[in-house]
Symmetry: C2
Subunit: 330 residues, 2 copies
């Protein structure tokens, strides 16, 4: 049973990332997390994926920022490039939890990381390319409608210097680099694979302590080919040889979780949903900002990027997770 | 006149880096530093370079760790790869200064950075490749024979995980990442050129605030070709075209300092030292750990890497800097 009202949250914007999210969730489960697991999914995710997500996560919440939220629509009108970022920011609206840890779907836990809940908002690890910015692939936050609204306001008024959520969040939480060292998560909690090679000596020294690996970059583990009979993963464009070096064993670990725990669930999802035409029959709670708050948010957009607005309504319903996660489908 | 007893310190281990050190010193002077400038030089630096260094720096101190210091010899016997690191660590023996800022010779100040002296030992900026380590290309420290001895002890007992001073110093000051945010210098005070391209959006956002540029990597500004008539710098293997992009203007700035201020001094040095056979005639103070402390240090090596030893003697003599720096040679 999940402990208290704290959760790990991820975003599933494509089915490829859905595979990553399922592996991430399994990695957290297998290392004995006591917290809830929440997946935010965008509308295009298909029923088999939603089925599998519903079996591993405690909550699966649809976020449709283009349709359900006036404030988000307003942001998208002015800054359409922020569409995916808005979906991610939606994690702040999960106010049924007092504290949460967001993790990108291309991360994987290598050990139990529940100690992250001892940190306060906003905590994150430094980004290896520009270390006075945090990497937004993993962060500790406190769900709050006021903060969510202020973030939407900031998205409109300030935008994102990199076009995504990392630039936006670094602008919003701009004192992270200078204010409080306890808000700096150790790099081993968001270890970018780009650092495996650019700083090999440090990886050799500290890599064995890695707690979360972040498969940053264009090539993700799901782009590799896994040969289950040999237990080896082969990177794209590598010929026939298995992966060697530092990255290979980490991707192989990802694939072991995928093959053993995720692939059977996806197959089950395909079987179960084959005859199903209505996604609403799946155990999925819909969320999104209620339309009635859009007026308040529009006002906030005019007044101040940092205004705190208390929005009401949280459409994401918590369901009986143990039943949904592990029991066989009816 | 230099203010108080604080100094910027650099290390000149080769004549190529000597060119860098001279540009660095000119960049600090031109931005109006009120602190002393100190160059540590290894024995192989030739008289013309020593002459030029002596005209720009307030002090030029020879560090010959292979000959002058029993403790250093002991380290080198066990870890010969640390030779250059030991020379750099020698900055802690400059106890005529109460506080100092070490800067690698491949850095260049883009504005006055005297505010760094408001920081305490040990302050440094994060390394972009592994941001829980600091980059040792620029750091604030307090000269102390005890710390110097403890560092030599650590070099023997703990070594360096990257084979250089950065690994050694990160092991010695291992609480930098977690203890005190004020010891984290802003990245713009040690901006690695590797980050110009790996994190272009952040550079676009924050790059105009850069205070010190660090020409990390194999290709240094002195490897570029400068066309003085056009005022353009051309990188190696680039064909005939001038440098474009972000890096070009920074390297051009380096070359402008070199051509206008450094090259004339080196030419003067060649003229002055042409008939000189004895480098001791040059304004150079010799330094190095006195031999009599080697017994104490050997004991420290056995007892504890962090023992604080009070060593006596500082062979580096401060000289009349204004006279040496700017007055014409006799």
């Amino acid at each position: 049973m999940p402990t208290a009202n704290e959760a790990f949250v991820t975003l599933v914007a494509t089915e490829a990332y859905g595979r990553g999210a399922l592996v991430l969730a399994e990695s957290l489960r297998q290392h004995g997390t006591t917290r809830s697991l929440v997946a935010l999914v965008t509308p295009q995710i298909s029923p088999p994926f939603r089925y599998a997500l519903g079996r591993v996560f405690d909550e699966v919440c649809e976020v449709d920022v283009t349709e359900s939220c006036g404030a988000a629509r307003l942001v998208l009108l002015q800054r359409p490039e922020l569409g995916l970022s808005l979906a991610k920011l939606h994690c702040w609206s999960l106010t049924q939890y007092s504290k949460a840890v967001f993790m990108d779907a291309d991360t994987m836990a290598l050990s139990n990381i529940d100690e992250l809940f001892e940190r306060e908002e906003f905590s994150a690890a430094p980004d290896p390319a520009w270390p006075d910015c945090f990497n937004s692939g993993l962060f500790v936050f406190r769900p709050s409608h006021a903060t969510h609204a202020a973030l939407l306001t900031a998205a409109t008024c300030l935008g994102s210097f990199d076009g995504g959520d990392q630039g936006l969040l670094n602008t919003f939480f701009s004192d992270w680099a200078t204010k409080d060292i306890t808000h700096h998560l150790p790099f081993i909690f968001n270890l970018a694979i780009t650092s495996l090679y650019t700083c090999l000596p440090a990886f050799t020294q500290f890599g064995s302590k890695a707690r979360v690996i972040h498969f940053l970059g264009a090539i993700k583990p799901w782009h590799w080919t896994y040969h289950s009979q040999h237990g080896t993963a082969i990177p794209p464009d590598s010929g026939a040889g298995p992966a060697t070096g530092i990255l290979g064993p980490l991707v192989t670990k990802w694939w072991l979780l995928y093959e053993n725990s995720v692939a059977p669930l996806l197959e089950e999802g395909r079987q179960v949903t084959k005859s199903t035409t209505e996604p609403t029959e799946l155990p999925l709670a819909s969320t999104g900002c209620p339309d009635q708050v859009s007026g308040d948010l529009k006002q906030a957009l005019v007044v101040n990027a940092m205004d705190s607005l208390n929005l009401t309504g949280d459409a994401c319903q918590r369901e009986s997770d143990e039943h949904r996660r592990r029991s066989p489908p009816p």
